[in-house]
Symmetry: C2
Subunit: 304 residues, 2 copies
């Protein structure tokens, strides 16, 4: 079943210990939809400037992504540049030029409104909320957020996630949102804010899924070379939601708990592939067979 | 089968966000042997001063631990004090009084020398090596080390671990010993130094077992309350080795790979219990049934 993805479409300048690229396709919407596209059809909502390259349009189209909701306006595409530390656990932002993204006001094409799955990338909570309101009969909705919205837009964020089925967030942000250091107790507090399903991402250490009184822990994939971690969290989200949408799963049903766990593993698989090349380049030649092989690897190194 | 454990026996002063104790039983040998005692007989080698309390002797005896190798000499027992940060991921040492431990020269009682399992807690590598040399026909030997020995006693440490079957080490120390940031490549380098089995501990994030070209990832247990993490790494070691010794397993045999994975989980289980009370107090009333129940919990929150 189809999945609507909202977020940024951008160009990034990236520097890691493995090299440097001045300008490469990026943005949360881009990474999410590319990762999801291996499981289901993604319909994106975003904005780009008139500098957005035809080759990038072609790349997204080649993955079957519906671009009807990708608005093109005069001006420049959102540009971000950053440099990673030697261990790649920290990064420093060098440039953030919002450009046309500063006035992003997402409007859903008619053909998107009845999609059963909605994934809201990290944008201002009020915008996420307005997109949610444009959907008719959405079955499973959720998204990501970040420290900036948690700290400075708390009420707006709380009103937004109250309507979500799930929240995907990293561990530091979960602690900040909950005002609680212990992850298990932080998770309980966040789930009292609305989402019945919570995924806490822990970077290289994997992810934890919370639902009801239950939790599931997925380790991070142990890559031999982390080339560039940009977008890995978004690819996790795309793999997670793409898998659920592709299988037509409604994770509120008790019987689908196993599928929800599998979705977390597929999210981890997509996040790990993302790190193997600069930007989203690994998705140019990735195959479903490689994805399933890595899924089986996860089984092999966690079973006891 | 019996397990010889060598390391420090100490008193600790501890302060965590949950409270403060001025003096409580501690030391690597203590934590390792207590954790191992739930699976097998531990025979300890250590030194204490004449201030070592009868009640602590009784506690160790009540767990069936063989104290023949626990030397009592004039002077004071090793004392360490530290305070943990609010998130308990860092601790600051306030006092390190080596006292009688400064002249520790481990001598194995005759009845220890033919034990098939040997676990060397974190002490000077030359002492670890001398203990190894006192054993006859040991079947499985390994231990722990720390940044200080890696940095300032490198050659001595390398000569020591060359004779070990396994090394238990935390992730920062593994990177330091290997001179390699990537854990997978660091593991390969360390295993070329001697040990055919390597366990990298990652604190709250669990542990990774490496053997041959294979690895196994165990998550950390998600405690609702981490009361005091002191000794958790040693309890991991004690649970790991205690389980192997109790089952009489020789992990060099290919068919025992599954048992080695189970040993890592039992290590994680014992590390998690250790954090539930101050010092080693949780082991006063812990039961094997509770241990096995937590083992099943690990299965439940990792299966997919």
């Amino acid at each position: 079943m189809s999945l609507v993805v909202v977020g940024s479409v951008a160009y990034d300048g990236l520097e890691t210990p493995h090299g440097k690229v001045d300008r490469i396709l990026g943005g949360s919407c881009t990474y999410i939809s590319l990762a999801a596209s291996f499981f289901t059809q993604a319909k994106i909502v975003g904005v780009v400037g008139d500098d957005f390259a035809r080759t990038d349009i072609e790349f997204l189209k080649s993955r079957g992504i519906d671009l009807e909701g990708l608005e093109r306006v005069p001006g420049k595409t959102f540009f971000w540049a950053g440099v990673y530390s030697a261990d790649m656990n920290d990064r420093t932002t060098l440039v953030t030029d919002l450009n046309v993204f500063a006035d992003f006001d997402p409007k859903l094409p008619e053909g998107y409104r009845s999609a059963p799955y909605l994934l809201l990338g990290n944008i201002q909570p009020a915008l996420q909320r307005s997109v949610r309101a444009q959907m008719n009969g959405v079955r499973f909705v959720g998204g990501d957020t970040m420290n900036y919205w948690i700290r400075d837009y708390r009420d707006e964020l709380l009103a937004t996630i109250r309507e979500w089925d799930f929240l995907l967030i990293n561990d530091g942000e979960a602690r900040m949102l909950a005002g609680e250091q212990n992850l298990r107790r932080a998770a309980a507090r966040i789930m009292a804010m609305g989402p019945h399903t919570l995924v806490i991402k822990r970077g290289e250490y994997g992810a934890i899924l919370f639902q009801g009184g239950d939790h599931f822990m997925a380790p991070g994939f142990l890559l031999e070379d982390v080339f560039d971690p940009t977008g890995a969290g978004d690819c996790f989200a795309g793999g997670f939601m793409g898998y659920l949408a592709g299988r037509g799963i409604d994770p509120r049903h008790k019987m689908d708990h196993r599928e929800l766990r599998r979705a977390v593993i597929y999210g981890s698989v997509m996040g790990s592939f993302c790190c193997e090349k600069f930007g989203p380049d690994r998705f140019r030649d990735l195959s479903r067979a490689e994805i399933d092989a890595r899924y089986r690897e996860f089984k092999a190194f966690t079973e006891f």
